[in-house]
């Protein structure tokens, strides 16, 4: 049943035409799966290439108002090295609050414009919150320009490069975490080599009027199938990638969430960002809890909210993401455990429907990430 209050992406009609099962997600009517089903969609993405409509996510430009470097300004609330970003380079980073908690995670890209403006992509569910934080804090210094007239497509999987190169062979030259302007089917698009599946792939920001034709063109390839939110979630979970608001929230620090890699090398020495005091202290002294990967020993999935117990049966934490990993061929999960139990291989238990099920703390990703990184010459 259609909920009239739900927003539609520019690709909505294509999803319905493709048999997408539409569900409400972050205020949008989005396809959770297509007739192929979550399992086959997941495996297809790892095997060939999956096309995802991620137009519900928040795309925006961040420009300087006062002549300062917008990346340097964002560093006040984001702990990654952003000011050093050269045009066309991007970073995964975190939007922090005063307590060092994570409001959201996002991608920040330096565009090619001479003022060094940034292109950011934030989570759909956090769009309004994130924009509000940026506008309030940086009034008079930064201008935020949401790109509401652009759709966002993700093409992910080992065949993504070949498929996109049919439209413009220059995409082959891009490496992981690089973006550039590319003309696809006569339309100027922003293309970035990144994604949320653990596979090589691209995200394509395309003017919304042109998005359906571009999607249809990509789907002409025998290697490309539409992939819904269901498989998007299982793909990111297998790759050990966090889901904002679930695997961390505004109380969780980057150290607790095992996101130290998002802290710039120099920045983690200086702590020159909000919440820096807590984060520096945690880096030095450790935290009481940590986000870890979890492999249940049996077949039963342990989903978000399942309690984690130690071998004596004491509740010690909670699963924050969990389900079945089609590529792993079994259940996988992530959750918080006390730091002393965070080492891979540690025996724990999961309380699923009142029963204690054996599990082990595990390394993430659960699968091998296959990004196309720069060749070492």
């Amino acid at each position: 049943m259609a909920d009239e209050n739900l927003l539609k992406t520019p690709l909505y009609d294509l999803h319905v035409e493709a048999g997408g099962k539409m569900v409400p997600f972050a205020g949008y009517s989005m396809p959770v799966q297509y007739p192929l089903g979550i399992m086959k969609e997941h495996l297809h993405t790892r095997d060939k290439a999956g096309l995802f409509d991620v137009s519900h996510m928040g795309q925006a430009y961040v420009r300087s108002v006062d002549g300062s470097d917008p990346a340097k300004v964002l560093e006040e609330i984001m702990p990654s090295a952003l000011a050093v970003l050269k045009p066309g380079k991007m970073r995964y980073t975190l939007l922090l609050n005063d307590n060092g908690g994570i409001e959201d995670d996002l991608m920040v890209t330096r565009t090619f414009d001479p003022e060094g403006s940034l292109y950011i992509v934030v989570n759909a569910a956090c769009k309004e919150k994130d924009y509000g934080i940026l506008e309030e804090r940086f009034a008079g210094r930064l201008a935020l320009e949401p790109l509401e007239d652009h759709a966002l497509l993700a093409l992910q999987g080992p065949k993504a490069e070949d498929v996109l190169a049919e439209l413009d062979p220059r995409v082959r030259d891009m490496v992981f975490m690089e973006g550039t302007m590319v003309t696809l089917e006569g339309v100027v698009c922003w293309v970035a080599r990144c994604g949320y599946t653990g596979e090589d792939g691209f995200e394509i920001s395309v003017p919304k009027e042109e998005a359906p034709a571009l999607a249809a063109r990509l789907l002409k390839s025998d290697d490309v199938e539409w992939i819904g939110l269901g498989a998007r979630d299982s793909l990111r979970l297998e790759s050990g990638l966090c889901l904002s608001g679930h695997d961390f929230n505004d109380e969780t620090s980057p150290v607790e969430a095992s996101l130290n890699f998002a802290l710039g090398k120099k920045r983690r020495e200086e702590g020159d960002f909000i919440g820096g005091e807590r984060i520096l202290k945690e880096l030095a002294e450790g935290t009481s809890k940590r986000l870890v990967g979890i492999l249940p020993s049996g077949r039963a999935p342990a989903r978000e909210g399942v309690e984690i117990a130690d071998m004596d049966g004491n509740v010690i934490g909670q699963v924050t993401s969990g389900g079945f990993g089609p590529t792993v061929g079994g259940p996988v999960a992530m959750g918080y455990v006390p730091a002393e139990l965070a080492e891979a291989g540690t025996d724990i238990q999961l309380i699923v429907r009142g029963k204690m099920l054996a599990a082990k703390v595990a390394q993430t990703p659960f699968i091998e990430q296959r990004y196309k990184r720069k060749k070492v010459s």
């Binding site: 089903g37 086959k40 039963a300 089609p326």
Partner: protein, 123 residues
């Protein structure tokens, strides 16, 4: 005798035992099934009690006892091959067999024609 419930379960009556599974409509709605948790043989249920759990990639769902009675057998093959529920929901994908407390409870359930009508009304 084949009977159906509004929770999309089927019941096949053979002598004094009733085999229970989920319908094609139910397996289709659940999607790819990756795990099935079955009751213990000997367990007794009231009608509507949670008797089994079926999990797809995305979510877990309860399977209710369609009638009051005792579990006399479970389909252990589903533990290794949960996908059978998708491929053969009315056949190899059966969940458990019950000895009904009251056979008239089974007889009162929908027959196939009535279930088809019920399904049509859901669309």
């Amino acid at each position: 005798m084949l009977k159906f419930t509004e929770d999309h379960e089927w019941m096949l009556v053979e002598g004094d035992t009733v085999t229970v599974g989920i319908t094609d409509h139910a397996q289709e709605a659940l999607g790819d099934i990756v795990f099935v948790e079955l009751p213990e043989v000997g367990a007794t249920f009231e009608k509507g009690d949670d008797a089994a759990v079926v999990e797809s990639v995305k979510a877990a769902s309860e399977v209710y006892a369609p009638i009051a009675g005792e579990i006399v057998a479970v389909n252990e093959d589903l533990e290794g091959e949960p996908g059978t529920v998708n491929s053969a929901p009315m056949d190899g994908g059966w969940f458990f067999k019950m000895k009904p407390a009251d056979m008239s409870e089974v007889e009162a359930a929908m027959d196939e024609a009535a279930y088809k009508e019920f399904l049509a009304g859901l669309e």
